[in-house]
């Protein structure tokens, strides 16, 4: 969980922003995490967690960027890609 593995928010407590907590599911392991720093996060969102706090909501659309970059490289390299 310390290495940036995102977890899914499965429930959120009501309350003032700085005290808002959520249950996060890390593929089966559940933890109570502070949502104080991701006021926009909702149930169903994936968040990156560090030391008990969600620090970032994972952007679904941006998540494919690395694969697009790979595709671009493949196109650039096509034909000359003989190095193994």
């Amino acid at each position: 969980m310390c290495l940036g593995i995102p977890g899914k928010i499965v429930s959120v407590t009501d309350g003032e922003d700085i005290y808002r907590m959520g249950t996060i599911d890390f593929s089966g392991v559940r933890k109570e995490i502070s949502l104080a720093y991701v006021p926009e996060a909702q149930v169903g969102d994936y968040v990156v967690v560090h030391a008990g706090f969600a620090i970032s909501v994972v952007d679904e659309e941006e998540a494919n960027q690395v694969f697009e970059y790979l595709k671009e490289m493949e196109e650039l390299a096509s034909g000359s890609d003989t190095v193994s």
């Binding site: 995102p6 720093y37 030391a51 620090i55 998540a63 390299a77 890609d81």
Partner: protein, 367 residues
């Protein structure tokens, strides 16, 4: 697992490795700053897939490793007080102080507890009004806002029995210290994705320019790391030195504004001593005047450094600056093991020595 498995795809990883091989024209050294990335690199054997002319230098990005022995001694002092409870992350309890570690203090009846979050320490303080509860606040800009939130809440609740033993460090001054040192070999950086998720990456831009060094914001999965390396090499080969952010799924240019806001209220920059490196100006975070009531060093009268004799054999200073690799330490795996560590890099989950011990034991091909 969503957002994990796809970033571990071996075919995609091979493609990145091919791209790196075909771009690289001469030997290069790149530093991954974050110990979490060091672990991923060694665990997945990424460095062994890469050409031998590319050296991955392991950086100082492990908060447990860079916390000086003096601070461990102070934590031990606190844990020995009869009415105090010292809370910290598990690794900190195993780091040797001058004479002993926090675990042995615990065995002798001192109250040192492992917590997962600073908010857990706050809970302990609320539940134990007759005890002084201290959280050993180590970590980079990623962890600092969390600890800031703990004292922010404590102040709001007028909780008088909670305080922080602050040992926070900041990444950019450490990067500058590395780049400006005479024996520096680092030509490019993989910046720590977590830190950038909180702080954004604008403050890296002047560093990239001043030292003409590419800085690529990098995540923690194998594809993230390989992509970070590929982009860094591409910049070096093209003579560019920019800040690039391929870790867009988690990192925005300005970082996490809510976290930065509380951070700036509770902490301000100041000098900090790094283990093995020495004092770096403005490289630490200290409680602001408004929050100085929550400073455990003042509360327990520990502001004067407790002199420390670090284990002389440990070469952690060279490891943390990327000058030596763990297996080059004569004590590595012989007199220093995770069960009986001589230095912090063998203790911590993010320490380079522990990573090598766990996944590599004896490194090959000079990486």
């Amino acid at each position: 697992m969503k957002f994990v498995d796809e970033y571990r795809d071996p075919a995609a990883a091979r493609h990145f490795v091919r791209a790196i091989k075909s771009t690289l024209t001469r030997p290069r050294s790149i530093m991954e700053i974050c110990g979490g990335q060091t672990h991923a690199i060694v665990k997945f054997g990424l460095d062994q897939l890469l050409p031998s002319s590319l050296t991955l230098v392991h950086g100082p990005g492990c908060p447990v490793c860079v916390t000086p022995v003096e601070m461990i001694n102070k934590a031990i002092e606190i844990a020995l007080q009869p009415d105090a409870i010292l809370c910290s992350f598990g690794d900190m309890l195993r780091v040797p102080g001058s004479q002993r570690d926090l675990f042995s203090v615990k065995a002798q009846g001192g109250d040192a507890r492992i917590v997962y979050s600073p908010l857990d320490a706050l809970k302990i303080a609320r539940a134990n009004p007759n005890k002084q509860v201290v959280f050993f606040a180590v970590g980079f800009e990623t962890t600092a806002p969390n600890n800031a939130m703990a004292v922010y809440q404590a102040k709001r609740e007028n909780l008088e029995n909670f305080s922080l033993l602050v040992a926070h460090v900041c990444v950019p001054p450490a990067m500058e210290a590395i780049l400006s040192s005479l024996d520096n070999q680092v030509e490019g950086f993989l910046a720590a994705g977590h830190v950038c998720a909180v702080m954004g990456y604008r403050e890296y831009e002047p560093i990239a320019q001043k030292y003409h060094t590419p800085i690529v914001v990098t995540g923690f999965e194998p594809l993230d790391i390989l992509q970070g390396i590929a982009l860094c090499i591409k910049q070096l080969e093209e003579g560019r030195a920019e800040v690039e952010n391929p870790y867009v799924r988690a990192v925005r240019p300005d970082g996490n504004l809510a976290a930065k806001k509380i951070l700036a209220q509770v902490f301000c920059p100041g000098p900090r001593v790094w283990r093995g490196i020495g004092e770096i100006p403005d490289s630490g975070l200290h409680l602001t005047e408004e929050y100085s009531f929550f400073d455990a060093e003042m509360r327990f009268g520990l502001a004067e450094a407790l002199r420390a004799n670090a284990a002389s054999e440990c070469i952690s200073g060279s490891i943390l600056r990327g000058i030596k690799k763990p297996h080059e330490c004569p004590a590595f795996g012989v007199r220093c093991t995770p069960e009986q560590p001589l230095g912090a890099p063998m203790v911590s989950n993010e320490g380079a020595c522990a990573a090598y011990y766990r996944y590599r034991r004896h490194a090959t091909k000079g990486n």
